[in-house]
């Protein structure tokens, strides 16, 4: 015989507003990075949530990309559901979700630079750094060289259309780039 029950017992109570997560131990934010994060948060006295991008930038600057544990760390830090952080992380091409090379190159793809030869620049950079971009697609925009030294992707308009083709290598900006070898040679 099976008892009749009208009682909801199979279901969790909807009481969790903010969940607590345990991270894998491998993800740790160094104290100095966390201090910068905490300082950034003070720039947003009205809403901590506003600090999502600044905190992401601090972590990306340190780790090179934003991993899943990083998303959860940020969510906990800013008292958000992790999905609200992931929504932001996946929206912006400026936020990487996979590890780039030691030097990450962003070549401007947009019209004026393309007219000035940015596609050709992309090709010669890839050739010089031995990067294979055949696997690149919307979901995997970054290609990394076999030695992990360089990674590359196209970026949309870097707002220096008068001096194309332009590119960023990490935070360094280069205009009217002609010689891929010379550019890459600056990075040891």
């Amino acid at each position: 015989m099976r008892p009749l029950t009208n009682e909801p017992c199979l279901f969790a109570k909807p009481t969790l507003l903010i969940r607590k997560f345990s991270f894998s131990m491998s993800f740790e934010v160094p104290a100095d990075v966390e201090a910068k994060v905490d300082e950034r948060i003070t720039h947003y006295p009205v809403s901590k949530r506003s600090a999502v991008l600044p905190v992401i930038h601090e972590l990306q600057h340190h780790f090179g990309f934003i991993s899943e544990p990083a998303v959860e760390w940020i969510a906990e830090k800013l008292e958000l559901e992790p999905i609200k952080v992931l929504e932001v992380v996946t929206f912006y091409p400026g936020i990487r979700q996979s590890a780039p090379g030691k030097y990450h190159i962003r070549v401007c793809r947009t019209l004026s630079c393309a007219m000035a030869g940015s596609y050709e620049l992309m090709e010669s950079l890839c050739e010089t750094a031995k990067i294979d971009r055949s696997g690149v697609n919307h979901h995997n925009p970054i290609a990394v060289s076999p030695d992990g030294k360089f990674s590359i992707e196209f970026a949309e308009c870097l707002a220096s259309c008068g001096t194309g083709p332009v590119c960023l290598v990490n935070d360094d900006f280069y205009e009217a780039v002609e010689d891929a070898g010379e550019l890459l040679g600056k990075y040891k």
Binding site: T5, P8, P14
Partner: protein, 572 residues
Amino acid sequence: MSEEKSDLIDVQINGEWHSFPKGTRMIEACRLAGFEVPHYCYHPKLTSPGNCRMCLVEMGMPPRPRPGEDPPEPDEDGHVPISWIPRPAIACANTIAPNMGIRTESEMTEECREGVMELLLANHPLDCPICDQAGECSLQEFSVEHGNGQSRFREQKVKKPKNVDIGPRIRLDDERCIMCSRCIRFMDEIADDPVLGFTDRGSHTTLTVHPGHELSNNYSLNTADICPVGALTSNDFRFQMRVWFMKETHTIDTNCATGCNVTVFSREDKIYRVIPRRNDDVNSDWMPDSHRLNIHWIDSEARLTDPLIRDEDGKNHRVANWAEALQRSAEALRDFDGGEIAVIASARMTNEELLITKRLVKQLNAGHVDVVPRVGEPDGYLISADRNPNTNGAKLVLGVEDPGASLDQIKDGIAQGRIKALICLQENLVDDAGFSAENLGKLDFLLTSYPLANPTAEAADIVLPGACWAEKSGTMINGTGRLQRLNKCIDGPGQTRESWEIVRDLIQALGGGNGIYSATELFAQLGDEVSEFEGITFGQIGDLGIPLIETDETIPLLEREAERKAQGLIVG
């Protein structure tokens, strides 16, 4: 809203002038004027992001005179000619303005709808033949009404995750999703459990839960209800039955005192699903998963389908017919004094059943009457602490002032042999009221009626198969004092009967009065015996119920919706 008459605004809709209260959204004004504006993202209970663009309409305002130009002459009704704006406007988030014009059937409006439909379908998989939403899919419906019948889209479609397990009760097909964001807003704004979100961007935008997390909230199935397409579907219901084959019955949920209004979908006396039905005084548009899914016992093997009589050997039960079971019961009950008889009814019974139960008590002159209370944690949304649907009815109609207060006395009375006969209607005393089988074994006579086999039935001399909530009609009074109708959705299995019939027949077998042929008749008699019901007709209660008595109970979810409405965030 308590606007005065002067707060009414004149709006011209498809050439006719109408008046609506200030603050009315254009889409609602059109609806009230008889013109449904197709929409996907708009939902009156959620904020309006205006993202689907399906509700674009042609709009006009009074002309603005150039400097030096005279303002236009109003006509005899005070209206000026409308200057139509070349850019369409969304009807969902914009409120009406004085002398506004709206055209829901103009060439511009039709072009917008056709255009948006084509774009919505561009990357849609068009898998209607295998989609569970077919038959109640807004995309399908509006496509027929407003689409142009064929697509110019020849490209490869964007590929997205399919058949994603995002929670225990909901499945996601991202290719069907039209990014209306209703589900996200529901979880953010109503359920306070913001686990859903969009990832990626542009055409690649993807609805998802965070990796490793779940949409497991007890209100998760509401997201499937409001999903206008087949992106979110119920694991419990998917592929069980095409919607157009099913019968829809408006009734109420009986899992707690809130009495959520529901629509029950059934076919051939099997219930396939229960979905919330809008009632802004009870459950808004929502209901808890736990309540709507509590239906699978109804057609389970544990259902009692025939009257049972304890064998002469005293151990097993044998199948009997109703006449014999009732006859045996009446004979047995005649041997006891009223003081030796207890009746335990249920706050899950309808007012009508409780009324006739009261007559039985009177007929037997039973000395002890009670119902079994059910108390749990309220969830702060729609689930009341009182898990009985009609405690107010038990108090008002059966006259049990403090439900459960006599249960211990009855147990003691049985243990001490003072109480010798017990009639248990729609309750399971062993599992739900703390009676032991040993205690019940001391009774000379135990009659129980219940939908399912249970330990109380095991101890009984007579077991009568009772109809469940979906198999009967009647009325109940919810926690806030609202009188609501329970409507029969399906026939019960085998020889099951509704409690009012069982009790009527028992009274008859005992030699009491008769002449009652339906629950509605009993309802009509309620007014004679319970003053609160005086003058109320069954029809008057309608689909949405009416306030009957004052209680101090409120429904937290509704309170919060009222706040959002007052802030102008939602239409409500």
